[in-house]
Amino acid sequence: MQTGHEMHVTTSPTNAGRALMRSLLWLPVLGLALLLGILVTRSVAYPVLSMVIFLPVAGALCLLLLKREQEKLIKICALVLSSAVLLLSLPLYTGFDKGTPSMQFVEKHAWVPAFNIHYAVGIDGISVLFVLLSALLTILCVAVSWHAINEKVKEFYASLLLLEGSMIGVFASNDLFLFYVFWEAMLIPMFIIIGVWGGPNRVYAAIKFFLFTLIGSLLMLIGIIVLFFYTSHSFDMLQMMTASYPYRLQVILFWAFFSAFAVKVPMFPVHTWLPDAHTEAPTAGSVILAGVLIKMGAYGFLRINMPFFPEATRTMAPAMMVLSVIAIIYGAVICLGQTDFKRLIAYSSVSHMGFVTLGIFALNVQGLQGGILQMINHGIVTGALFLCVGMVYERTHSRVITDYGGAATPFPVYAGLFMIFTLASVGLPGTNGFVGEFLILVGGFTASKTLGALAATGIIIGAAYMLRLYQNVFFVKINPGLRGMPDVNEREILTLIPLVILVFWIGFYPNALLGFTDVSVQHLMERVSSITPQLSQHAGEIVR
């Protein structure tokens, strides 16, 4: 018996090596597919944004028509659909004009004439990356759920696709009513995903998530209605971005919208839903939550609070920064004491999103650029970490850190991949996390030295808890239960590889993404404050 185990342990690394080689061989194929996708989608004209919003929705409805027993077919359809969405969204990358802050890929149709509501979509430098991120992460979620979801498979993939459509809808909306519809519609599939396929305490987590989000959203709805009457009966966001509202109204509306976005981010006092939701959700749910959903809060600040209410934003910014710093330190300290794998990463999100809001409310170009970049980074890295946790959870069915130990022996390839994401999360130079956090700290120090210094301690604690986690899981004395378990397979490696590439690509060449956001961010800054051209030039140098 003993020897059998030994045999297994010795053979499994070679198996893993083979899986790694095979998955690397797949990469050129995927690369070619991507290239082909770029070529094809560039040559064909179609309404890009509507397509990427409604293809997943339509696909979800079609999935529901399939027979329950055809699980394989359902999975393949979901994979094909989500990949198609990514391919169809490629023109947003290739055809994006980086030189203008105005909306691109605009579509506008009357929807409810009685209230002057339009179906208006369009993206600018701030939103384009999130659309692409949502499309990418959904594919990975489909892939990682392949064997993890065995029950109600059809409903799961339909929910996931509905979620994708409404997420992209939120980022693409140019009409406040439409924005709200997508914003709320997203709640339904997410609630179902957490509550049906989640962990033991899933129902509590799902309801907490729903109620927290709903109260914020409904206050935002009132804000939207008030804004409608003050913007000469219009929901046009572009019009609101240039309108000027009375200061008192701005402050009230700032808080109305803040209530929705702060819950989503989540900012310090209203973050308590997040650890529960992230921990209990199935892997795909955690990835989407951490990767995209919580970005919507920060995106809302950028898209709505700052340009709509610039004076109020300036007044409130110090308070927001203080809340952010509290979130950074508080989230990080709590991480130190976590015994649950997923809960630790969930609390690290609180800390990392604190960096994002700190950057945003530093109200300077570096901070904003860093904030947006860090949102993407956090989506990639935390998404990847949740994917990794999901992979071992499938094998061990335990989320307790002490149930692991010495995992590098049975899972060498996995340990290597996990190391990359750990270091990216810590913010090691060369990984994407470094660029984002550096820019945010530059912005933060410019705004306030004290807060900047305090925020920097968050990075130190961050390194402490992530490295401690890595040590406890992979290096200490091996837990006998782990012996003989198979390392990550081809499918799992292929799920993580795109994120590894992104980690290093952004780490070494951040301009790939910063180039997209640059002009839009400067435009936003001009709206929020009267920043001098010289300063913005300076900021541009630092960015480069």
């Binding site: 004439p113 009685a114 409903e155 709320e184 709640l187 309801i207 109620l211 709903l214 009132i222 209605i225």
Partner: protein, 467 residues
């Protein structure tokens, strides 16, 4: 003495309904299959719906008026009848209450509602209200051998009679003050007079009586018991029809007759609305019986709809009407699901139904999210429209209150979904399905989703003047 025949054209829908309702009592003598009577009722309702647009005008010396306002409410009543008959066909047979009178009582009570919506005179209003009320008392107790049904009927009757007395008292005071029972004449009279305590007292009595009909707190006490005890199809009927009729008369009486003293009644309605939302939503949380839960939820929805009345504008009125139309679909839909699983009254017994009955569970999911007011369902459109009207009228703080109660409401609606989707089955799954029930469910779910996605169907703009 030569009495000229009044112009009957405006009253054709009511005439058709009354004649058929009387005729159905005779038909019952000749057929054993009660379902035929049900189908005849459906045809009648369809026919009435068809002639509804052609029946505009005033008649009976200005006591009866058929205008856009009444037509919209009659549309709600007829949709109510059609859906109720569809869900009753099999259910009444199964509950051994398969009496032919059931359908004619449904029709008679609907005629009463239609008279209420069309009343231009307080006397007609009262006649309609009593016709509706008496028929519904019997409907609530139609399960003769069921003690709970008997109890429901008795409670409903006693409290209903009490509210009728209040209404009569308020109306007599009003007549004493204005020497008229015509709503428009009262209006023009009150415009010239200062507000007197007697007028306020009469207004309070009228509000109390109408609040009984729409089950607004603190006059809601009858609703949970009656809703729980009455057969489920009757509960669905009661939760939509009489409520909408109550709102119709509130609209007509308060916007027209008391139009000049708006500030006085607005204050009363604000109190009523807040209390109704609070009582309905908070008490719904602790309910274990789904019918009682839906009863409290329907109380809460009356509180939301009152926001439209409070707004005091054409926008508010139209928002209230749109809300009631949407509410009819989602609420009857929810009750139809309760009928489908008619052996389960406790919410806990809905556990695991998504596995055994995925389609019905998905429909219930849509209805529950719609009742919560989450897009892209009709319930959201209704609430949005109401909130917008109230904000426009300057009642933003009241909307904040409504929103907080909406969040509370999410909790108990989600509990149903949670049971169906997130808990393992505990009970043997058995359903009472019938084609009629499925048609009703399908119509309701499609209406809820279509209105949610294409709201222009119901949101026609505030330019239309209703009264």
């Amino acid at each position: 003495m030569n009495i000229p025949l009044p112009n009957l054209a405006p009253i054709v829908p009511e005439l058709i309904m009354s004649l058929v309702a009387s005729g159905l009592l005779l038909v019952e003598l000749f057929t054993r299959r009660k379902q035929i009577i049900g189908y005849l009722t459906l045809v009648t309702a369809g026919l009435t719906l068809y002639v509804l647009p052609m029946s505009q005008g005033e008649t009976f010396g200005g006591m009866f008026i058929s205008d856009n306002f009444s037509a919209y409410f009659k549309l709600i009543f007829l949709i109510n009848v059609i859906l109720i008959v569809l869900i009753s066909l099999k259910y009444m047979a199964k509950s051994e209450a398969d009496y032919g009178e059931y359908y004619s009582l449904v029709l008679f009570s609907t005629v009463g509602m239609m008279l209420m919506a069309s009343a231009k005179n307080l006397i007609v209003l009262y006649l309609g209200l009593e016709l509706m009320a008496l028929s519904t008392y019997v409907l609530a107790g139609i399960k003769k051998r069921d003690v709970r049904s008997n109890e429901a009927a008795l409670k409903y009757f006693l409290l209903g009679a009490f509210s009728s007395a209040l209404l009569l008292f308020g109306m007599s005071l009003l007549y004493g003050l204005t020497t008229s029972t015509d709503i428009y004449q009262i209006s023009s009279f009150l415009k010239t007079k200062a507000v007197t305590p007697a007028l306020l007292v009469s207004m309070i009595f009228v509000i109390a009586a109408f609040a009984f009909k729409i089950a607004a707190a603190p006059f809601h006490m009858w609703a949970p018991d009656v809703y729980e005890g009455a057969p489920t199809s009757v509960t669905a009927f009661l939760s939509v029809g009489p409520k909408a009729a109550g709102f119709a008369v509130i609209g007509r009486v308060f916007y027209i007759a008391f139009g000049s003293v708006q500030t006085d009644w607005t204050a009363m309605f604000i109190g009523l609305s807040i209390l109704t939302m609070a009582v309905g939503n908070i008490l719904a949380i602790v309910q274990v019986n789904i019918k009682r839960m839906l009863a409290y939820s329907s109380i809460a929805h009356a509180g939301y709809a009152l926001l439209g009345i409070i707004a005091g504008t054409g926008e508010g009125l139209s928002a209230m009407m749109v809300y009631l139309l949407i509410y009819a679909f989602m609420n009857i839909g929810a009750f139809a699901i309760v009928i489908l699983f008619d052996n389960r009254e406790e919410i806990g017994q809905y556990a695991g139904l998504s596995k055994s009955h995925p389609i019905a569970a998905a429909m219930m999911l849509v209805f529950m999210f719609s009742l919560t007011g989450i897009p892209p369902t009709a319930g959201f459109i209704g609430k949005f429209n109401l909130f917008a009207a109230a904000v426009h009228a300057g009642y933003t703080w009241l909307v904040v209150v409504a929103v907080i109660f909406s969040v509370i409401s999410a909790f108990y609606y989600l509990r149903v979904i949670m049971n169906m989707y997130m808990k393992p089955a505990t009970h043997e799954a058995s359903v009472t399905s019938s084609p009629g029930l499925w048609v009703a469910l399908f119509v309701a779910v499609v209406a809820v989703l279509i209105i949610g996605i294409l709201p222009s169907i119901v949101l026609t703009g505030s330019s239309l003047s209703w009264l």
